[in-house]
């Protein structure tokens, strides 16, 4: 059970031929980065079992999650938790914060007494920088954007999962709190052995918190590997564009030296070939046939013909390059 892959999956269209594997015995933080519509959220939904892949499977502790029933299913539901990006969508406006946090406590029987339940709630809220006495009893519309987002994180902390899928958990909080919350997530991984899939477009925080990174574009893996290498020496033109587009809090650095090609590339769907083809400044004839993954080093791979001097690596082996 320990050495079995915690998770692995393959699927098509919104997400094309993606395989990942997280090992329970080696808890890690993996970042999945990419722009909106790149399939990041689809990946999260798949891993949580909210949607089913059209082909391929997602295994949790060796079992196909679509087949989980009864007690196994309940365990999966508790052990795999999510924090979603949009704090405006998730909360039922008629429930107070207390209710939002009490329900999971009751459902998964996390506390023996009312007192204990209260303590747990308070602890989780404090960990995300909220004052329980101010927040409990309020309705979602009485909270600011960042406060709602943090309630989401608190809820996940409360459940102490084995695997946490965090989809843009801190996009609406300030830098200082962002640091504190990410630090909390990091200690969750370190001290409680929780693996975290950190889905984000924020490469700076990814760089600080994660060990490895997978960069998606239109559902396909563009580049992957060790977070330091990929962010400091990106090899795929898309990763290069992403990193160049980071708005640095540094006045001597100008935002986006490279031009963004094909603004409305949003519209052109390309069925064959490299997904980045319509926007790529280096696009070549051969790019109309989908490039395989080339292994550039022990901990880096890119799916781009500019790298075709390197050996290829099958996508289902990609996880082996990801350090934990």
């Amino acid at each position: 059970m320990y050495t079995r892959g915690l998770l692995s999956k393959t699927s098509t269209t919104a997400l094309n031929d993606v395989s990942l594997k997280l090992d329970e015995s080696e808890p890690t933080i993996l970042t999945v980065a990419g722009e909106s519509g790149s399939g990041k959220t689809t990946l999260a939904m798949l891993m949580l079992g909210f949607i089913a892949p059209s082909s391929g499977q997602i295994l949790y502790k060796g079992q196909d999650i679509s087949r989980l029933r009864g007690a196994d299913r309940m365990t999966f539901r508790r052990e795999v938790q999510a924090v979603f990006q949009d704090p405006f969508a998730v909360f039922n406006p008629f429930y107070t914060v207390d209710h939002l946090l009490t329900v999971p406590i009751q459902r998964f029987k996390l506390a023996k007494s009312k007192r204990e339940a209260r303590d747990k709630m308070e602890e989780a809220l404090t960990a995300v920088g909220l004052r329980p006495e101010d927040i409990l009893g309020r309705f979602p519309h009485q909270l600011s954007g960042g406060q709602r987002q943090r309630i989401n994180v608190a809820r996940a902390l409360l459940l102490r999962p084995r695997l946490l899928i965090a989809d843009e958990p801190v996009s609406m909080v300030d830098a200082s709190l962002r640091a504190n919350i990410l630090e909390t997530l990091r200690s969750l991984q370190k001290n409680y052995g929780v693996s975290i899939v950190y889905i984000t477009h924020d490469l700076t925080t990814a760089y600080h918190i994660a060990k490895s990174i997978v960069v998606l574009y239109r559902g396909a893996v563009m580049e992957a590997g060790d977070v330091d290498t990929v962010i400091k020496r990106p090899q795929h033109p898309y990763t290069q564009l992403l990193i160049d587009s980071i708005p640095w809090p540094d006045l001597s650095r100008r935002w986006g030296e490279t031009d963004i090609k094909a603004r409305e590339a949003e519209h052109q769907e390309i069925t064959t070939g490299c997904k980045f083809y319509p926007r790529c400044p280096f696009a070549m004839e051969k790019c109309t046939v989908a490039p395989p993954l080339f292994q550039l080093g022990t901990h880096q791979a890119a799916s781009c013909y500019l790298q075709d001097q390197h050996p290829t690596i099958p996508s289902e082996h990609l996880w082996k390059l990801l350090p934990v």
Binding site: E26, P27, I29, G34, E35, S36, G37, Q85, D86, F88, G129, R131, E133, D134, G137, R138, Q142, L143, S144, G145, G146, Q147, R150, E168, S171, M172, V173, D174, A175, S176, L177, R178, N180, E183, R186, Q189, K190, H201, D202, T204, T205, Y207, H208, D228, I231, K232, L241, L242, S245, I246, P247, P249, D250, L251, W255, G256, I260, R263, E264, V324
Partner: protein, 349 residues
């Protein structure tokens, strides 16, 4: 230059079951045409409230309890509800936090844009209105065909640009964008910000950008205003804010920014933001401030303009301190910030 926006002593309170929350506590601000101001500050510090108050869109249990908002010579706070309705979009436009998710999913974009105009101007002909919508779409870099589309047919970045298009339909003098890009990836962010930039130039409008992304601020705005617990702590031009922040909270905020140089160093500001129900006496930041002096716990520091033009609300810079005293403080700054509480997280497993 005559300011296009003046906010004077704005006060907003939310009447909650637990008591009165002072969400905006005597905030004043001016902005010139063509200027871009970044409004930053801790989550819950009152940024959105400030925007809503300027729009007179605070809903009960919230109430504007005092102050004035003057846009382009018109005192919004004096207008009747009906006049205010017209002023929205034509004088001052607001692109709310999470706006792109508030587009109605069952209505075509065009219909939502037309409705927005009609709410303000029921005389214009259908043709004129539609033409105006198309032009607005084009000015945010969208095709005219978007007019006939439904929200789900658009990407996040496109939806956000639709919201900007709606905001500029009636050529406002002030545009307030509340975290317009926090849900978008960096590439799309860049496109959206470039769009706002261009639109602003066309209209000669002033822009208030609310957000947490200091990188975005550094790259986009001219001036930064830092809020803390419903008050302004510091207002500085962007260069000063990033290279030499004055207010201890602003300093801590700038220090907490991640960079590629100091991997694994997370420096949040210790302590919790204060409850707005019980704002600390004196300076609201005093329980968390490393330079707290006795006076800080009793006397509230006002936002004052220093001799070098910086605006700061902190007793460290209050007059009465001799030059030597002020220098001494500067030195203390240096020493405290020279040894940041670095947490090493690099031995990750």
């Amino acid at each position: 230059m005559k300011p296009v926006l003046q906010v004077l002593n704005l006060l907003v309170t939310y009447y909650t079951d637990a008591g009165r929350a002072k969400a905006l506590d005597d905030v004043s601000l001016t902005l010139n045409a063509g200027e871009k101001l970044g409004l930053v500050g801790e989550s819950g510090s009152g940024k959105s409230t400030m925007a809503l108050a300027m729009m007179r869109m605070i809903k009960p249990p919230g109430r504007i309890e005092g102050g004035q908002v003057i846009v382009d010579g018109t005192e919004l706070t004096k207008l009747s509800d009906e006049e205010m309705l017209k002023a929205r979009l034509s004088k001052i436009a607001y692109i709310p936090q999470g706006a792109m998710n508030s587009l109605n999913p069952v209505l075509r974009i065009g219909r939502q844009m037309v409705d927005a105009i009609k709410a303000h101007d029921d005389e214009a002909s259908r043709r004129t209105i539609e033409e105006r919508c198309m032009e607005a779409l084009e000015s945010v870099d969208l095709k005219r065909s978007v007019f006939k589309m439904y929200p789900h047919e658009l990407s996040g970045g496109m939806k956000q640009r639709v919201c900007i298009a709606i905001g500029i339909l009636l050529n406002p003098k002030v545009i307030i964008a509340d975290e317009p890009t926090s849900a978008l990836d960096v590439v799309t962010q860049r496109q959206v910000m470039e769009t706002i930039d261009r639109v602003q130039e066309q209209l000669g409008a002033a822009v208030i950008l609310i957000g947490h992304d200091m990188g975005l601020m550094a790259q986009f705005v001219d001036k930064v205003a830092v809020m803390y617990a419903g008050r302004l702590a510091e207002v500085s031009i962007v260069r000063d804010m990033f290279t030499d922040p004055k207010h201890p909270y602003a300093q801590a905020l700038i220090r907490s920014l991640p960079s590629l140089e100091n991997k694994g160093v997370f420096q949040g500001i210790p302590g919790l933001a204060p409850s707005l129900l019980r704002i600390p006496s004196g300076c609201a930041f005093h329980p968390r401030c490393p330079y707290r002096m006795d006076v800080c716990t009793t006397v509230r520091p006002e936002l004052e303009t220093l001799s070098n033009g910086r605006q700061v609300a902190c007793h460290l810079y209050t007059e009465g301190l001799t030059d030597a005293g002020a220098n001494g403080i500067q030195e203390r700054h240096q020493s405290v910030y020279a040894r940041p509480a670095v947490k090493d997280i690099d031995n990750r497993t």
